[in-house]
Symmetry: C2
Subunit: 283 residues, 2 copies
């Protein structure tokens, strides 16, 4: 498997991350996952912008953005994934620092790691829907930054899987925030409702696209706080992310949604979303 590490395309076996890399010792790094629909990286510019934003928020001074996109395509080619639905993972850490100290030297060279992976569409989940759980959101207060300090997400996700669920959705102070890897939307009376951007949720790219689609299709949508007490009043619910696209939820915290049938607005948005990358592929 060929990957990219600090300027070189290498076999994974030959990548040697230092134990003094600050991502390894401090979770001091940021990342992006980008979808490859043969033969394009979808919304690459949006992911790049968010990556820049994350870096700026934690003051990592990485600047070599120009060749990332060409590296992505090169990795796809070298790993024989040109015709495969895939994802790319891009991680930038603050760099190596010795001796280990919490505070960082501002002159560190950030390190960058990129890999690609065959990642088929989750056809069954997208078609038939998923079951998700509900937990209290105990993460830090800067969930708008896509960092590698992901332990709370890991632990909640693990509980989901152990309980036969696909995802955990969190609530904080009685309000829905997001999932461990997804944003969340609800439908009530044909209106799409999703929590507003803040320090408490990741500014999801799929979320942004879906809101754009609503505007284009003339659907009503609102970005507003969603109370736990509202949960049993919704007609539809779905998850949004780069890898899961738009995935209907048929059971949430043990409550059945729409008789376990993915709703019509979800389905419509799914097909409109798919058109976006199908159109791109044709060009």
């Amino acid at each position: 498997m060929m990957v990219f590490y600090n300027g070189k395309i290498l076999d994974l076996e030959n990548v040697a991350v230092s134990p003094f890399d600050r991502a390894f010792q401090f979770g001091d790094g940021v990342y992006e996952v980008v979808r490859y629909y043969p033969k394009i990286f979808f919304e690459y510019e949006s992911h790049l912008d968010r990556l820049k934003c994350s870096l700026k928020k934690i003051e990592i001074s990485f600047t070599a953005f120009e060749n990332i996109e060409s590296v992505l395509y090169e990795l796809i080619q070298k790993n024989n994934l040109v015709d495969q639905l895939s994802i790319a993972y891009i991680q930038i850490s603050r760099g190596n620092q010795f001796p280990r100290r919490h505070f960082y030297n501002e002159n560190l060279d950030p390190s960058i790691f990129i890999c690609v992976e065959k990642y088929p569409a989750r056809v069954d989940e997208m078609k038939n829907g998923v079951r998700v759980g509900l937990e209290e959101d105990i993460r830090w207060m800067r969930c708008d930054i896509k960092t590698t300090s992901l332990l709370p997400n890991v632990l909640s996700k693990q509980r989901a899987i152990k309980n036969g669920l696909t995802e955990i959705i969190w609530h904080r102070n009685g309000l829905i925030t997001e999932g461990t890897q997804t944003n969340v939307c609800f439908i009530k009376n044909s209106e799409l409702i999703t929590p507003p951007l803040s320090n408490l949720i990741l500014p999801g790219i799929t979320r942004e696209i879906v809101l754009r689609l609503c505007k284009k299709l003339g659907f009503r949508y609102t970005e507003r706080d969603i109370k736990l007490t509202e949960l049993n009043h919704f007609d539809e619910m779905f998850l949004l992310s780069t890898t899961t696209e738009i995935t209907p939820v048929i059971e949430f915290d043990g409550n059945i949604i729409n008789d376990r049938v993915p709703g019509p607005i979800c389905k419509l948005l799914q097909s409109e979303y798919q058109k976006l990358y199908i159109v791109l592929k044709k060009n």
Copy 2:
């Protein structure tokens, strides 16, 4: 520099951490820092116990504890630190997992990295005291686990250093919690006051020793909530950690403590603390 990685003592240059190590991608690891006072590792058993506790709390199934202590002494020897005040850093991560997924395979082999470093006493800080800042505690709600998902600590510590301060002490919901790397104590009318153990602070080993010393010396001490509104009523304040031992604070959030003079109880506890490892060294 010789370090230990997954069963072998190696030159640091020869350690190759995989980019799929979960500490690197998810901050999915735990750690300890142990003080070496020539020629003993101080309170090694307490650190080992806490390490086991951290592992258990996030369900990393590492079991090869038996030889860690001998590795510590071997590293001290191989790095010519036998007569030097030093520290050891021990990090255990959940292991390598490919492909990258938030949830983990329960059969992963955890990876362990250990290094030692010459680390002189901070004589000036311990004698003359330090200035510390105050910030809101925005970390997650499991600060009792010593994990490598440390980004919030990194960012606060960096602000401290930028502002010419030694440490940041946090408050949450109007109550003092702890520092980015330290526990905190106050003295009022000869009584030592420190926040109680909970999910909001690390169960510090130096904190535990200091409470034990209070008991032994017949000092009154209380583990209780400390309100922000009490802060200007204290006679002394000090920080506790493995590396800083007991360090007096002479300025906190711009307020001068005891005319910038380290207080008598701090000094007495410092000398009693030092006796603990001096006695051990003689045996």
